[in-house]
Subunit: 342 residues, 2 copies
């Protein structure tokens, strides 16, 4: 090797990283030998090993860890979780639970939040699919999902709601009708007859089922349903707080509330901060701090890890036919649901 | 066309969807003509148009909307957001804010949560990168991030913490030192001298900076720092509640607490439910319901949308040199930080 060669090498070193081939050439050994030394395989004779190590030092060669890991990253099973609204605690709990369930199968999870927009839901699913994520867990919007059937290689499992237009879909649901009924019966058992219902999107199956449970309990108790006591389509706690105030200002106000989700229960808490009345209320979905208030918030609760594990199990064990898994719910009395009527 | 041909066609229709080519053959026109009719292009003569429409009806042809949309899905700019723990409200708020900031640029966002595991952080980033997500917003773990520099085509911006080992990184930070100092000065101004610090991962720059602000305020007030008043490495509110109880049981207990994150503040709330003492406390990070408790929780708060928008702006406007953006924080007095010493 001439001085000129070395200068050239030094110059080229400054513009690109040395490769294994450079090391082999410099050391005068085969590429296979360099690979063996770099990967610490046995059966390389000591003098050869030393020559390769000297070349590695001289050239400043570094094994391309990044490329090796990147290949592994691409190969890892990645599940997509598509949710309605990540700022709602239900979804952040679900995301953490899916993450944990997937980790048990050495799978990674990427999440997407469509912020109550069915168009964005579809774009998210298609973007994930186009990027090689073909196993999806979806909390579906109320829009038609028939288009999903056209992606033959996509495996999707649905959580919390039945996707409209996809009769063949596997779905993991809560026992919503039972929960709505149990919440309402609990309030009836504590003497309430004017029980208001606060709910969000009535086009979504879980919300509809919780309301159906509420109506069934009233019917069974011989209490006539009063549409003036039913509030639909409120998502934001502040809107809920406004509606609660409005109902309490009626000439014949409710003495109790059934909130069909955590945001509605939080809205009730916010409304009552400003009001003298102490109506009873039961929420659907547990939430952080529900037990720290005084009185504690009585809720219909469930184990979100069962929702997550159910979905991951269905996803990783494909089988024909629509499968439905129902996760049980339970009523946890903490005080707010046991207050008497005025 | 014979009856046999039609039967064959009917049979084949049941096993696969008709294509544009089938429509062209059935109508006896060119594929180009079918394409023009399907895509509602002008300049197709009426009789031809009618023949194509008749063939479309007869065969039950449907345009492959899915394929067209899928191509768009792959083309859409998708940002990756990699976070420490999605079940922490800070991250779900950040995720929603990044989602909203990205929507302003017609970009989609996929999230990943590494659940406090630096290995999983790296796998998530590499999996996203391998799937074509090359614009990343990362809330980094305390591990070395030098490996990221090897992915030349990856653009990453960091949020909330400085990534160790990546001096050239663009970072959007909160004014953590100022916030820690303001919280502590507030408690000092209300007469407290025994002020405990509850914090999580001390290896993370934001936590370190908040603690530095706490120490600076004590020093400026001539109050000697007492290591017995400092709790580090507690993440879970239940662990925090235990530590708060332990400190309150000391012979010379704290009369006030500074919680360096939302989980620590929630842990204090939980601990105080079971205790007779009414120590003052200030939290860092606002959280849902912080204003509904009585007294309300005094916090150091900031606009999470500014963190998100700052990160998206840096990401979409690449420029040389490490850029640091500081988002201001403010102290919101709600009652818990204004309680007097016993």
């Amino acid at each position: 090797m001439t001085a000129r060669d070395l200068d050239d090498r030094a110059a080229s070193r400054s513009v690109r990283k040395p490769t294994m081939a450079d090391v082999a050439k410099y050391a005068g050994v085969s590429l296979k030998t360099v690979s063996r030394v770099v990967n610490q395989e046995p059966h390389v004779r000591a003098p050869l090993q030393e020559r390769v190590q000297a070349a590695i030092s001289a050239l400043g060669y570094r094994r391309n860890e990044a490329a090796a890991r990147l290949a592994r990253g691409a190969a890892m099973l990645t599940l997509g979780l598509v949710m309605e609204n990540i700022s709602n605690e239900f979804y952040s709990r679900l995301a953490a639970a899916v993450e944990s369930a997937a980790a048990g199968h050495e799978a990674l999870v990427v999440f997407g939040s469509y912020e109550e927009s069915a168009d964005k839901e579809r774009m998210l699913i298609e973007s994930m699919y186009a990027r090689g994520v073909d196993s999806l867990i979806v909390v579906p919007s109320a829009a038609d999902h028939a288009w999903l059937a056209e992606h033959a290689s996509l495996t999707a499992v649905f959580v919390d709601r039945v996707p409209p237009g996809l009769d063949s879909a596997d779905v993991v649901l809560l026992d919503d009708v039972w929960g709505g009924r149990a919440a309402t019966e609990h309030l009836l058992a504590h003497g309430h007859r004017r029980i208001a219902l606060i709910s969000d999107d009535g086009a979504v199956s879980s919300v509809r089922d919780r309301a159906a449970g509420y109506r069934a309990a009233l019917r069974a108790a011989g209490v006539a349903a009063d549409e003036a006591m039913v509030v639909r389509g409120v998502f934001d706690p502040w809107r809920v707080a406004y509606e609660v105030g409005r109902l309490l200002d009626l000439p014949d106000p409710p003495t109790a509330f059934f909130a069909t989700n955590n945001r509605a229960a939080i809205g009730i808490l916010q409304a009552l901060r400003e009001r003298p009345e102490r109506p009873a209320y039961v929420g659907f979905d547990d939430f952080a701090l529900a037990d720290v208030f005084s009185p504690g918030v009585t809720v219909v609760r469930y184990d979100v890890t069962r929702l997550a594990r159910g979905a991951v199990d269905l996803l990783l064990n494909p089988a024909p036919g629509p499968r439905r898994v129902r996760v049980p719910v339970e009523l946890i009395a903490r005080g707010s649901g046991e207050l008497p009527p005025r």
